[in-house]
């Protein structure tokens, strides 16, 4: 137990000297990194313009309130598009993610050394790139519109769904698989009767969870031209129509809260 002598008395300490020094060094490095970073941000900021930030904020807020409710009738179509991008995107990505997950899980993959790394590479590259960057790419390939957003969401979700799904497959109870194998079942029968029932709850949970995330992401895809309500947001921002912007933001907020509520309910019902 670390102690120090003070006036002939032994006083308890939380840490001994070396540990204190290491911790102090780590904190120092952290502070140094932060100061350096803040300095760099500050260098790239025109502080002279920041004097009237309060006024600008109040000005924008004043223009944004009240929201232009009549604009709502033009928002129904983008809302429908956003919902479709998220829902169909989730469905497509699940169709693609299931085979990839089976190829990536170490207990179902046909080949640990050739197929599994390829499947893992697909998962990693799909996950590492943000859906907006995927959207940028698909907008430049298939042109602006809902289809580009749909592709972006589908491709981006593959990695997420496949990763969670293959982890679920790796955690299954092998005994059930063995029991099915012992009946003389074929490979696909083992999958359908031995593995699939075990991962079904996880699968449903992942689907709903990803759908929730996709609703959030598809609301902003329009900023790069990939359809949905983000397109209206970008248009309103570009024309500095703040009452429309505030209405769209309210709609997005409502959509996000609603989708989170739905997904929480459905997941609660499954689990």
């Amino acid at each position: 137990m670390p102690q120090v002598e003070k006036n002939g008395l032994k006083v308890w300490q939380v840490r001994d000297r070396n540990e204190t020094l290491t911790r102090w060094g780590m904190w120092f490095a952290l502070v140094l990194a932060f100061v350096w970073s803040w300095d760099a941000i500050s260098d790239n900021t025109l502080w002279a313009l920041m004097g009237n930030v309060g006024e600008v904020t109040l000005d924008i807020a004043g223009r944004a309130v009240p929201p232009r409710w009549s604009y709502m009738e033009k928002l129904w179509k983008p809302i429908w598009d956003t919902l479709n991008i998220a829902t169909l995107g989730t469905v497509i990505s699940l169709f693609l993610a299931v085979p990839i997950a089976f190829l990536a899980a170490s207990n179902t993959t046909p080949s640990k050394y050739f197929v599994r790394p390829v499947a893992l590479l697909i998962i990693v590259s799909s996950r590492s790139v943000n859906s907006l960057i995927w959207a940028l790419l698909f907008v430049s390939i298939v042109g602006p519109g809902v289809f580009a957003g749909l592709l972006a969401i589908s491709i981006r979700s593959i990695g997420f769904c496949a990763k969670l799904l293959y982890e679920a497959i790796e955690e299954i109870d092998e005994k059930q698989v063995e029991a099915i194998t012992a009946t003389g079942a074929k490979r696909w029968q083992i999958m359908v009767y031995g593995i699939v029932p075990q991962i079904m709850p996880a699968f449903a949970g992942i689907a709903v969870f990803r759908w929730d995330i996709n609703i959030r992401e598809s609301t902003v895809l329009g900023l790069v031209g990939a359809g949905g309500i983000g397109l209206q947001l970008k248009g309103s921002l570009d024309t500095i129509a703040w009452p429309q912007v505030s209405l769209i933001l309210l709609v997005i907020l409502a959509a996000v809260i609603l989708s989170e509520w739905v997904s929480a309910k459905v997941r609660g019902a499954i689990i």
Partner: protein, 302 residues
Amino acid sequence: MSVALENKIGTAWKRNPLIASSILRWMTSAIIVVYVFLAIFGTKSISSSLVGLGLVEEGFRFGTFGSVDKFFSGIDVNWSRIQRGLARGQEFVGGFLNPDFTSRWDHIVQGMYESVVMTIASTVVGIAVSIPIALGAARNIAPLPVYLACRFIITVSRALNELIVAIILVAILGFGPLAGFLTLSFATIGFLAKLLAEEIEDMNKSQAEAVQATGATWLQRINFGVQPQVMPRLIGLSMYRLDINFRESAVLGLVGAGGIGATLNTAFDRYEFGTVAAILLIIISTVMVLEYLSGFIRTRIK
């Protein structure tokens, strides 16, 4: 199979259906089919096929609702545009085989520098702000009014997409990394405070009580009773958030909030797929290094 034979050998076993009630099962399937049809093809396809069959006239209206076409729009796929675009897709794939690091190297370095700086600063500030909020949002140590206020902050932060916050902040503060830094700090609060608060709520109560029994003040109770219990989780979450913040900083540039995203957007706009590939490769490798690092640190703490 005949009924007599079935009686002899007994009915074959069938898997239980996912939805037990058959009416509910059929209705769910029907709703799904109708939805998928409307989402993909839209109502326009119905009206145009009705026109094609000669059942209704061109441009017919459905009572007071007006044209049917605009009820539900499907996905418009412009095949000729895609055909032209496929060449670009090939260029993009070609760009990955032959990434061009050199021609925009200065911009890439500047963008990466901004992204890294934003990531570090926002993670530090975000964590510093989330810790008190997490303490307030844990029901077992905070009084109800504080709890509700802190939960409200967390909910707002989680509900607002980073990009939307960034747009608003860019409108207020102007272009540059300051808006990105504030956006990421704000987003960190929702993530970290929520998970940390849940960790605090799950902690072992007796340790905090033991510290309290020695006559410790509130601050000492938090510092010696609570903090040691949640520290491993806090460090793990912080590392994870550093990782997320870097990924997010890569897209904030799209709306003018600084970072590598601006460089990437410019490269896409100019169809410079070699540069795009170079930037994406840098982002992916940085994310993988960060992910490996955070995984390493998280396993060492445990």
